[in-house]
Structure formats: structure tokens, C-alpha cells
């Protein structure tokens, strides 16, 4: 466990000290401030708008952190050969990769935790000024939604780990990870649309198959988007929590394992 933890720890330290993180946090703070102002422009459902904007900001900042800091934590190691100082020690390639993954997850945790707490401020302000009992807001659901943003970021971290295991180019990893994120956010909606059928439109079996394949191959990230539930105070069943968490853990385990298999035979000339 020590080598994995050591790699995770050094990855986290290198990531958190990166100046880009400060920039991302400042953007997030500005968006929180903007959310407080913008909500005043709405005529109704002001608390819901505040919740939506706040959670979107946390999610956006987390995604930026992973794409601009997380991706580089891998790419720089491989490109500048910093990996030599790790692999030349009693650390296997698999331990390195898993350690890197946990380091990025730790970074995502700190960012989500910090911004998740701050995201409550615009919501609390709008709630204090405009709250009416019918709005049905529940802080517990709000913070469950924040935890789900973190789980979503963990899945994206595993995707970055997978792509980094076979490419040293940060741009390729960034494009592939971003592509996976976009597909992962929309597969469920597209699938639901195709399954329910569109009037007078004949759907080709090839398209149906492709959408079905994408649904199982790519992570279903929309399952971790609980903004609507948080905004409307809709209850989240315990079975939903259990299944989505199990899905996330299994998906990450499979993706990181495939990454370690690819990385095991990788050379660093």
C-alpha cells in the first residue's frame, strides 16, 4: 500500500500547488457571486435557480481541475520523464498508475469539498430572502448532490488514467476525456429518446445498436447529476444511492484495471 499512497500523496501535492488551481477557484468564486446576483433577475423559483447555478459551478470547476491539472499530472510525468524517479524505485508500473489515479481523486475531493461548502452560500442567501415553504428545499439532498459531483469527477479521473496509460500527449488525453465526458452526459437521454420512439421517424437498427453500445461502454454520467432533485427537494431513494455508487465503483475498477494492463508493458525510453 505504501508505494501507491506515496505516489498518490506526491501527485496530490504537485496538483494542489499548481497555480492553475488558484485560477479555477477564483473563477468558481466569481460564478458563485454572479449566481447570487443573477437569481435576483428571476421572477419565480429563485431558490431553485440558485441551487442549479451553484451546483453547476462546483461541477464545472471540478471538471476544469481534472482536465487542466489532472491530465497534466500524468502527461508531464511521461513527457518530461519525471516517471524515472518513481519507476526506478521499488514501485511497479501498476502501483504508479493506481497511485496517480488516487492522487487525482484526492485533488477532486478537496476541490469538491471546498467549493461544495462555498456553493451553499448563494443558496443560503437566496433562501433567506426569497424562501417560501412550497419550494420544498432540503439541505441534505443538496449535499448529496455535491457528493455525487465528486463521484462523477472520480469516474472522469479513471477515464483520464485510462487514456494516459497509452498516450503521453496531454492534448490527446484531454480531447478523449472531454469527448467521453460529453458522450457520458448524454447517452442516457439519447437512449431514452430512441427507446420511447419518435413519431413518424424510423430509427435504423445500426443507430440503435450504436447508441446501446455507447450507453454501456461510456460512463452514464447523467446518473450522477442530481441538480433537479436538489433544486426541487425531491427525495432520493436508498436503492438509487446503492446502485449508482456500486456502478461508479465497478466502472472505475474496470477502467483503471484496463489502464494498468496497458501500462504494464509500457516502455520509457
Amino acid at each position: 500500500m505504501t508505494p501507491i499512497w506515496s505516489v498518490a500523496s506526491i501527485t496530490f501535492k504537485e496538483g494542489i500547488k499548481n497555480r492553475v488551481i488558484f485560477g479555477i477557484v477564483i473563477i468558481a468564486l466569481l460564478l458563485f457571486a454572479a449566481a447570487t446576483v443573477i437569481t435576483n433577475l428571476f421572477m419565480r423559483d429563485i431558490v431553485k435557480v440558485a441551487v442549479d447555478l451553484s451546483l453547476s459551478t462546483v461541477s464545472f470547476a471540478g471538471l476544469l481541475t481534472l482536465l487542466f491539472v489532472g491530465v497534466n499530472l500524468f502527461a508531464k510525468d511521461l513527457d518530461k520523464r519525471t516517471i524515472y524517479m518513481v519507476i526506478s524505485r521499488p514501485v511497479s508500473r501498476q502501483q504508479y498508475l493506481v497511485g496517480k489515479f488516487f492522487g487525482i481523486v484526492l485533488l477532486a475531493f478537496i476541490i469538491t469539498f471546498f467549493l461544495g461548502l462555498l456553493s451553499a452560500i448563494p443558496v443560503a442567501i437566496s433562501k433567506r430572502i426569497y424562501y417560501y415553504p412550497e419550494a420544498g428545499f432540503d439541505w441534505r439532498i443538496f449535499f448529496i448532490a455535491v457528493v455525487y459531483i465528486f463521484i462523477k469527477l472520480c469516474i472522469i479521473s479513471s477515464i483520464i488514467t485510462l487514456f494516459s496509460s497509452f498516450t503521453s500527449n496531454s492534448f490527446i488525453t484531454l480531447v478523449l476525456s472531454l469527448g467521453t465526458y460529453i458522450i457520458g452526459q448524454s447517452t442516457e437521454a439519447v437512449r431514452v429518446l430512441l427507446v420511447s420512439g419518435i413519431e413518424k421517424v424510423k430509427i435504423s437498427p445500426v443507430l440503435s445498436f450504436m447508441v446501446e453500445a455507447a450507453y454501456y461502454l461510456f460512463p452514464n454520467l447523467s446518473a450522477f447529476d442530481l441538480k433537479i432533485q436538489a433544486a426541487h427537494g425531491l427525495p432520493i431513494s436508498s436503492s438509487y444511492i446503492i446502485w449508482t455508487v456500486l456502478y461508479a465503483i465497478s466502472y472505475m475498477a474496470i477502467v483503471v484495471s484496463i489502464g494498468t494492463l496497458a501500462f504494464r508493458r509500457r516502455e520509457f525510453p
Partner: protein
């Protein structure tokens, strides 16, 4: 007793889809315990390739490589090895203390021992007063010194150095030579590549000249008296081997 063994090692690199370049051809070499071995050769001769194979950073196409009787694929072997790569690059936002802590932990050292070694090594390489500065603010020579401290933090039995004198000023070079002699007096095995033949002649017990992936000559400086002629021998051997094929 040999602690490093290359047994008929060949390494091919793929260039594009079909082409390949042979970096090492049927290369055999052994380095004994407590020896300081200098590895010489023109640029592109395969020196770094052989050192990287030794550290399991790349894999041989054929042949066997062992450290202390164990295959280099066994990661536990690297507990006894310290490595300084050519032009080392470390984490930009960390300071040398954090790097040495990482190196010590991954090599199985306890925190107290790491602290002691960190202080003593950073003093030796002249960086103790700079220990809180992030590596990205260091000069090339300072980074090289950090690399040296990293290679030695776990008190390895075998020290492998790839072009260690690169980027060092004359004082740094002198300190480095003294350090190699100190390691030698402690009974460590030092295996290093270098282009500075004068220094090699001063500190090494044996040297090997590698040209185009083949070991063309081994010289035991303890028994052969070449007094200052290493450069001539080196050029002669390179020319005899047909120069450099790139």
C-alpha cells in the same frame, strides 16, 4: 562477485511501422561488488539504453539482465539501487525535502531515518539552505544535485549514474568526484556513464567502451597502466569499430 550482469542483451527500437533500430547488439558485461565502473561511448552508442534496461524502464528484446542475482523485472531489486538519470526532471511545485521523503518512503525507510538522511545529503550537495524552494526555481546544476541526493537517500548498495557531470560547474564536478570516491570507500558499487574521460580515469576501477551497441573494449585501470591515454584509446576504439552509425 558480480552484482550487475548483462548477458547477451539485444535491444531493438521500433521506428515507424516496419523499421527498427538496434541500440544494443548481443551485449554482455558484468560489474563486480565494490567496483567503480565507467561506461564510455560516443553519443547514441547505447549507454543510456543499457542503464535504462537495468532500471526496468525499458525491456530488452532478448538476453538476460540481473542485479544481485535477481532479474531486473523484480521491483524489489531496486531497493538496493540508486539511479540518477541524464538531464533529470522533477516535480516543479515540490521542494527537495518533499522529493526525498517520497524517495525514502517508496524505498521502505522510516520517517526518522528519512529526516536524518535528508539533512545530511542536502548538506553534502550544498542545498540545505535552499531546501524550502520549489524545484522549478532551481538552476540546472541544482536540479542535478537534487537528483544525486535522490539516488543516494536510501543508502543503496549499487549507484547507477547517467552522465552525472552534465550541468555541474567545476566545483560541483570536484564535489561529485569526491562523492564517488567516498562511495567507493564505503564499498558501494558505482556504475556510471560519462564523456569526461579525465574524471573517469581518476575514479574508475574498470571502464568499458561501447560503440554502436557493442562493447568493444574493457580496461582494468588497476592492472593496465594507461596513464592519461584513455582519450586516445577511446578514439582509436571508436574508429576501429567503424565510427558511429546513426
Amino acid at each position: 562477485m558480480p552484482v550487475i550482469i548483462f548477458d547477451r542483451v539485444t535491444k531493438d527500437y521500433k521506428i515507424g511501422f516496419r523499421k527498427k533500430k538496434t541500440a544494443l547488439k548481443d551485449f554482455s558485461l558484468s560489474v563486480n561488488e565494490g567496483e567503480v565502473f565507467g561506461f564510455l561511448g560516443p553519443n547514441g552508442a547505447g549507454k543510456s539504453t543499457s542503464l535504462k534496461i537495468l532500471l526496468n524502464l525499458i525491456f530488452p528484446t532478448s538476453g538476460k539482465v540481473e542485479i544481485m542475482g535477481k532479474d531486473v523485472k523484480d521491483k524489489e531489486v531496486r531497493r538496493f539501487v540508486g539511479y540518477l538519470p541524464e538531464n533529470p526532471y522533477f516535480y516543479d511545485y515540490l521542494n527537495p525535502v518533499e522529493l526525498l521523503k517520497f524517495a525514502g518512503k517508496t524505498s521502505g525507510m522510516d520517517s526518522t531515518h528519512i529526516k536524518e538522511r535528508t539533512e545530511s545529503l542536502l548538506n553534502t550537495v550544498g542545498l540545505w539552505n535552499e531546501r524550502k524552494r520549489e524545484i522549478r526555481n532551481y538552476s540546472k546544476g541544482m536540479v542535478q544535485r537534487v537528483g544525486l541526493a535522490l539516488a543516494l537517500v536510501h543508502d543503496p548498495k549499487i549507484v547507477i549514474l547517467d552522465e552525472p557531470m552534465t550541468g555541474l560547474d567545476p566545483i560541483g564536478r570536484r564535489q561529485f568526484i569526491d562523492l564517488i570516491l567516498e562511495l567507493k570507500s564505503e564499498g558501494k558499487t558505482v556504475f556510471f556513464s560519462s564523456h569526461i574521460l579525465e574524471d573517469v580515469e581518476r575514479v574508475c576501477d574498470r571502464v568499458g567502451i561501447l560503440v554502436n551497441g557493442t562493447l568493444v573494449r574493457g580496461i582494468d585501470l588497476r592492472s593496465e597502466n594507461i596513464s592519461g591515454r584513455l582519450e586516445d584509446i577511446f578514439i582509436e576504439e571508436v574508429e576501429k569499430a567503424g565510427g558511429i552509425q546513426r
